[in-house]
């Protein structure tokens, strides 16, 4: 057992750490230092800066423009990005449809889509859920009618986050209504500029522009945009879920949120001294930090498995359930530390910018235990797949 990084890995960490502040534009640095509130434009700008350096896709193989880094370097890279407070990149292209295309796409699809995902020329969003199909995703009803060389799509997708900024959407659509519900689904790539597509943004609880509804009315989509074969969509969706697992451990965001809590607690006073020096508040923060340490070790175990080319062990299944709860508890604690100031809602110049960003962030993170398969669905799956408890 060895829990340290090698000398080369530590040198790599220093390289990344030194590069970030040099590469980041001044206004972004300001936000990274705690002013918070990155816009989707900030993410796109940062994406292009990283691409120029060759670091946009640490987890892609070299042949398709990735860095070819091993798991440890990828982990270090992500950790440094989070510690520096860099804007998070859009995950839908780089971390979701990209890896899926690398594994299952045709050569033509790879050639057409991967370079533009990598460069940030094209952004993606996800079209899975529907108004009537949330946790029971396989019941989805958006139809794809066979019309020779193309499909005709009709229906509505919801929670298509950031669709208003996206160029493409990857969708699950019903291609065969006559078979078992999981067997009649196809994974389809749709250009959002196609006629008949309409995107309606919807504010989140944090008043941030994220959620959207996306409507399809007689939208023509060429069959060459099918990934993994017609009626193979459920298999594709499950493969994609595997990529999501470590993403949803929330290690970086939690580290970042913990630092924010401490910064706020250091700047506010209770009984005439900084809250960070008050034993009661220190203990509250320490409890979450200790839990975060344990959670981090679970993700290190998954990382170490990947490093050896093995599938992460069963314990990695708990990362989403534990990590999303933890980030919520941390944002709640940030609110608590702010006391009455946690009332603030998009005021300018009344509270420090960091504090002004907490309320919307706290609200937005309520989604974490819901998206990516709600934590209740996660528990159903773990109970059956890992603990092998009986079905009802």
């Amino acid at each position: 057992m060895d829990l340290t990084f090698t000398e080369e890995e530590e040198a790599f960490r220093q390289e990344v750490r030194a590069w970030i502040p040099k590469a980041m534009p001044e206004d972004m640095r300001e936000k990274a230092r705690g002013a918070g509130g990155f816009t989707p434009e900030d993410s796109a700008t940062w994406h292009r800066i990283l691409h120029k350096k060759g670091w946009a896709a640490p987890h892609w193989p070299k042949e398709v423009g990735g860095t070819g880094w091993d798991a440890a370097r990828r982990f270090i890279f992500n950790e440094e990005m989070e510690l520096a407070g860099a804007p998070p990149l859009s995950v839908f292209g780089l971390s979701m449809v990209g890896p899926l295309l690398i594994s299952f796409g045709t050569d033509a699809q790879k050639k057409r889509f991967l370079p533009k995902i990598l460069s940030g020329e094209e952004f993606w969003c996800q079209g899975y859920s529907e108004p009537g199909s949330g946790s029971d995703l396989a019941s989805l009803r958006t139809t794809a009618e066979d019309a020779g060389d193309y499909f005709i799509i009709n229906g509505q997708k919801t929670w298509t986050s950031y669709a208003q900024y996206a160029d493409w959407i990857f969708c699950l659509v019903r291609t065969d209504p006559s078979v078992k519900k999981q067997s009649g689904i196809t994974f389809l790539l749709i250009d959002l500029k196609t006629s008949g597509v309409e995107v309606k943004p919807m504010l989140t609880l944090g008043h941030t522009p994220a959620f959207c509804d996306t409507f399809f009315e007689n939208v023509k989509v060429p069959k060459e945009n099918v990934v993994g074969g017609i009626n193979q969509g459920w298999t594709m969706a499950k493969a994609l879920l595997g990529h999501e697992r470590t993403l949803l451990a929330m290690i970086g965001p939690s580290q970042n949120a913990l630092q924010k809590v401490k910064r706020i607690a250091a700047s506010r006073t209770v009984n005439g001294r900084p809250m960070l020096e008050d034993p009661v508040w220190r203990a509250k923060i320490a409890r979450l930090e200790m839990r975060f340490r344990a959670h981090t070790m679970v993700s290190y175990r998954a990382l170490a498995d990947q490093q050896k080319g093995k599938m992460p062990g069963p314990e990695s299944s708990i990362l989403k359930v534990v990590g999303t709860k933890l980030i919520q508890e941390l944002t709640e604690l940030a609110m608590e530390v702010m006391g009455e100031s946690s009332l603030t809602w998009y005021n300018e110049g009344l509270c420090p910018p960091l504090e002004e960003s907490i309320g919307p962030y706290f609200c937005y993170e309520r989604a974490a235990t819901i998206y990516g398969g709600s934590n209740e669905i996660q528990r159903n799956v773990i109970a059956k797949m890992i603990l092998q408890l009986p079905s009802s």
Binding site: D2, I285, A294, M297, Y300, A304, K308, A383, I386
Partner: protein
């Protein structure tokens, strides 16, 4: 970064687990818990022959020069069937303190026989007023012509009822100092105490006990630092054992959910119970994961690095681990609250581990008062 055990360690884990399962099922612990000693010196000797007690000690004293990870493997495996022999008390508390504090002659006299399984040790450090503060010592060591005279009272000395030698902390003129005292020395009054988990400890009064200068371990005043270090090993040991206990309780509970029927179906098919079991699994894996960090870092000389992970691990035992123990009992229903069923024996052992070597509040406070805690990086 690598979390896997090497081949020797995997072998060790298998050997100890096989021993626990085949030669020391829970029934053996049940038989012994009402006896005056509470364990079997013959089995202790056998464990010595197998070399398990020598794991953390250098070869010069008859040990194997292994790491604390090896020790943790043994503790976790022995916990799976509640093996009652005093490994934690004698090897981790007594032995590891003696190894760091004593000289070659003292090692040969007291450590080597323990490693061979001929004797056992106990560490008498806690007093009625001290509550996890090893430097709160009222017992005195008054110098006299032949050495020292010890006076005072120690409480909850694990294995103190039967250990051959006691390692005792006392205040000498130069500060807190450790001494080796034979349990049967004149003036040592031992009162055996039963503990909630079916083990034995002792309250020990030292009444002008004469000890020679050669029973002093290290310099006068060296005791507090030595004990502080021992407490980290002890907390890590409790965590290692706790991993074995919680993992066993989880497995017993999952098995029970898969066999017990009510309303005509297996109760493990109920979603409310499935979700509880998943949360138990999550807490168990969190404990196992942070325990790995504690086992590795407990050997570090950098106190800050060492304490962060040891305290985080002991905290997870006190919160998540204890919760797993509570839920295991709850999901067993009425049978879990009987003495007849084994689940309750594991439950009580978890509470003993929780109460020893710093409770939740102690470790939260220690973690939060480390200088690194207040460093803000972003």
């Amino acid at each position: 970064m690598d979390f896997e055990l090497d081949q020797d360690q995997q072998m060790l884990a298998k050997t100890v687990s096989d021993f626990a399962r085949n030669e020391s099922p829970v029934a053996r612990f049940r038989q012994l818990r009402d006896s005056s000693v509470g364990y079997d010196p013959g089995v202790w000797r056998k464990m010595g022959e197998l070399g398990w007690m020598g794991v953390p000690f250098p070869e010069s004293v008859g040990g194997f020069g292994g790491s604390f990870i090896d020790c943790a493997i043994i503790l976790e495996s022995l916990a799976s069937t509640l093996v009652p022999e005093p490994y934690l008390a004698s090897v981790v508390l007594g032995g590891m303190t003696l190894a760091r504090a004593g000289n070659a002659a003292q090692h040969e006299a007291y450590l080597t026989p323990m490693i061979e399984g001929e004797t056992t040790l106990a560490l008498a450090y806690s007093e009625a007023q001290s509550r996890y503060d090893v430097s709160s010592v009222d017992t005195t060591a008054r110098p006299d012509s032949n050495g020292y005279k010890l006076s005072g009272e120690k409480v909850w000395v694990l294995n103190g009822h039967h250990a051959d030698q006691l390692i005792v902390s006392a205040k000498a003129p130069g500060g807190i100092t450790l001494f080796v005292v034979p349990r049967n020395a004149d003036g040592v009054h031992v009162t055996a105490a039963k503990t909630i988990d079916g083990h034995k400890a002792a309250f020990i009064r030292f009444d002008e006990v004469e000890v020679g200068g050669d029973s002093r371990l290290g310099e006068e005043g060296a005791g507090a630092d030595l004990l502080d270090r021992t407490m980290d090993y002890a907390a890590a040991a409790a965590v290692a054992e706790g991993v074995g206990i919680t993992a066993t309780m989880l497995q017993m509970t999952v098995d029970y959910l898969g066999t017990r029927e009510q309303f005509g179906v297996k109760i493990g098919s109920f979603q409310a119970l499935q979700h509880r079991a998943v949360d138990m699994y999550a807490e168990t894996e969190l404990l196992r994961s942070i325990s790995m960090a504690a086992m590795v870092r407990v050997d570090e000389d950098d106190a800050s690095a060492r304490r962060r992970d040891v305290s985080a691990a002991k905290y997870q035992l006190a919160t998540g681990g204890i919760w797993v123990a509570q839920q295991s009992l709850q999901l067993h229903g009425g049978i879990g609250v009987t003495d007849e069923h084994d689940i309750g024996l594991y439950f009580k052992r978890m509470y003993a581990l929780n109460a020893l070597f710093g409770d939740q509040e102690h470790h939260v406070a220690r973690f939060a008062s480390d200088p690194s805690f207040a460093e803000v990086t972003v």
